[in-house]
């Protein structure tokens, strides 16, 4: 058959001019936060005493780790177009579970593993209710935020758990939160591991690709044969496991947990992810962005303390940074599309 359209010469693809290179850099989503972090560090180094000491920097890293571990999970959930408000409650529930298991003299690796399973189950509950009943995850996890903490309180009769030195092998467990192999806080290592594994999943696996697709347009994803339910539930499970890991590490750090531990963590976690450039409505975001977002918050707190700013002002500054970073991101997005 004769084709109706003679072959058309393809228009020259845009040459990679300096202009388009600059454009590409500007479009790099993490750029804004990285710049902000760099500026903050410059200020810390020249404007305050003690910021640049390696001890201080490692402290910043340590403070960032618990939020960071949870934020890795939240990155999946938020990219998938969902939200999980129950992370703080999963955190305390797993802390309590692990604490009780240790008090019952269960070997700590087993206790840790069981704790992660509990966290994963919490995530599974969030995911299955959200997907199965077709409810907004905001509502579902607002409910489980209450439920999970309630279970934690019931289990312990609202009494705090304090792990004393008489528990066999407690040093092994305490190493998770307090160890410093090669002088680097173990917590920080765990967070970086979580970021690396999470980033790998997101960037290189089918599951990661599908997470972006489902968050970008659930209907289009469904019509492309993507198992949207599985992807969404999975993101909650990952979040649950990581919130559980953070809970266990937090317990290991203080060897103490009480009913109010972890209240309000969800806001810090979500803040970190959003500052890192993920869209609150799903479909975009990166692990690198999340890492930078987490570090930005921790560095900001540190610098403010070193600069002698009162804690009330700190809260205000952090609020302003959230709005400013999202505003910056929105401006960049406007450049990209209409």
């Amino acid at each position: 058959m004769q084709t109706a359209v003679p072959p058309v010469s393809t228009p020259p693809a845009g040459p990679r001019t300096t202009r388009s290179m600059v454009d590409r850099v500007i479009r790099q989503r993490e750029l804004g936060v990285i710049l902000a972090l760099a500026l903050l560090c410059v200020y810390g180094i020249f404007g305050t005493d003690g910021f640049r000491s390696s001890d201080n920097l490692l402290n910043v890293g340590q403070q960032a780790s618990l939020i960071g571990i949870m934020a890795v999970g939240a990155t999946f959930v938020i990219i998938a177009g969902e939200i999980d408000l129950s992370v703080g409650s999963i955190y305390v529930l797993v802390s309590m579970c692990v604490g009780m298991l240790l008090q019952a003299e269960v070997a700590w690796p087993v206790a840790l593993l069981l704790g992660l399973v509990v966290g994963g189950l919490c995530g599974l509950v969030n995911g299955v209710i959200t997907v199965g009943l077709g409810l907004p995850s905001f509502i579902v996890t607002l409910g489980t935020l209450s439920v999970f903490r309630g279970i934690a309180l019931l289990m312990t009769n609202a009494a705090p758990i304090s792990l004393d030195q008489t528990i066999p092998n407690i040093e092994g467990f305490a190493y998770l939160g307090n160890g410093r192999p090669f002088g680097i806080p173990m917590q920080l290592i765990l967070m970086l591991l979580a970021v690396l594994v999470g980033g790998f999943l997101l960037r290189f696996t089918k599951f990661g690709f599908h997470t972006y697709a489902v968050g970008g347009s659930r209907e289009a994803a469904r019509l492309c044969g993507i198992a949207t339910a599985r992807v969404r539930v999975m993101s909650f499970v990952i979040q649950g496991v990581l919130a559980g890991l953070a809970g266990a590490v937090g317990l290991s750090f203080l060897l103490y947990v009480q009913g109010t531990t972890g209240v309000g963590l969800e806001l810090l976690v979500i803040t970190a992810v959003i500052i890192g450039g993920a869209a609150l409505f799903g479909g975009s975001g990166t692990m690198l962005g999340t890492l930078v977002g987490v570090l930005l918050i921790a560095t900001l707190q540190n610098v403010l303390i070193l600069a002698g700013v009162s804690s009330f002002w700190q809260t205000i500054v952090i609020g302003v940074v959230i709005i400013a970073s999202v505003a910056l991101d929105t401006v960049v997005r406007r450049r990209r599309r209409v």
């Binding site: 084709t3 109706a4 359209v5 388009s20 970008g216 347009s217 019509l223 990209r336």
Partner: protein
Amino acid sequence: MTEDTLLQSPLTLRVSGLCKRFGGVQALNDVSLDFPPGKITAVLGENGAGKSTLMTIMAGLQRPDSGTLTVAGTAVSGYSPSQMLHEHRIALVPQEIALCRDRTVAENVLLGREPGVLPSRRRMNEQTRALLEQIDTPIDPRQDAGLLSVAEQQLVLIARALARDCRVLILDEPTTSLTPNEASRLFALLRRLRDRGTTILYVSHRLPEIIELADLVHVLRDGRHVASFDAAEVTTDRLISAMVGRELAAAVRDDGRTVGSPLLEVANLSAAAFSGVSLTVCAGEIVGVAGLPDSGSNALVAALFGAVPATGDVRLDGVRLRVRSPRDAMRAGIGYVPAERRSQALFPDLSVNDNATVLDVETSSRFGLVNHRRLRRMGKARLAEYDVRGSSGGVVTGLSGGNQQKVILSRWLAREPRLLLLDDPTRGVDVGAKSEIHDRLVDVARSGAAVLMSSSDLPELLRVCDRIVVLSRGQVTGAVDARTATEQEVMALATRSVAASPA
């Protein structure tokens, strides 16, 4: 509002030296055009020629890199939608309609124009009703906008423009999802507005309707203004050659396809939108499903893909299918190009490349790891093959509407499905690309697959299909041979009342 507030002093709209660049793409290149008052001026061009860019600049949705827009003799200084709307009274009905779906029609129409500080619902409804009456549209202002058909949504947007006493009304591909009847009502309305002095800018890929409706035609090619015609004197052939810069050979009907044995057999299929549908599509055959928007024709195609639940007997190659989800359908070798590009097919956050290869992620992964390099290579080749204009690494929302559609088609055709289902596959696609797509559908059929497509574009069905099954109110009212049938015959079947056939 009364008739004479609409009789504004006519104003000339002029752009000169307009340039707009997106990354490596020069979307508008030194464009100078006049839009005379009280006339309908059509803007024509291939996909990606820059039509929507020009229109959105005039509506203040984006600013040009250089060049000026002159309204009634004075150059516009600030480009913002509210300035264009309220100061210059330029209103746009965009290519991709966006209404607030959960708000009522009245709230949508009067958005940003609510009367008083605490707008009374009753007054808003009355005002809206009056506006809608002016354009002969009996829509209840209290209804949720999300429940309206596309045609009605468009009319709501026009009413919104009227609510602002707009003097310039810009419509970007308004007829892509309208029935012939709805379209001719829209044309009547536009003529009436024109006669009252409104300047109308009209973008469409449907050449016959442009010749029928417009007074003046401007043609853009690759971001440049290449020609202007008096619509009364021009022919579609001349418009086409101005648009694409060459002659288009007429599509060849007799393409030497052989129609084989029945491949898809549907018996007594029912769903919410249709009931008791039976039809057969043979290997190598292209069958159309025609019908008005409420006929269930789109739902029928979607149901065969498992996208909407349905019950009945569906056989592919004689084997009974149990399709409960799109995944099942894809496993059985079925492909589906949905009608609503933006909400059902595009991944707005993913790159053009990822959008073209989203279905190949499965086959390009081992142990859950995606071979991104392979996908990029596949995507590049595909985009070149389909002549998609735009950067492959860029966001897909940066492509023109027609190019987006080509990306989606390429995604499905590459899978070589046994049965290809399409819903309005050439919505918003230019003439050249359209005939290219039609050729590809013929290729698919020639390779022995079955093609079933529904379309709101009846001439398209008559041109491409072998047979057309017509639905009315969810029931099959007949089938015609597309080679011999006329539009009138199909429309007669499509509007046949259900009472005539046994219920």
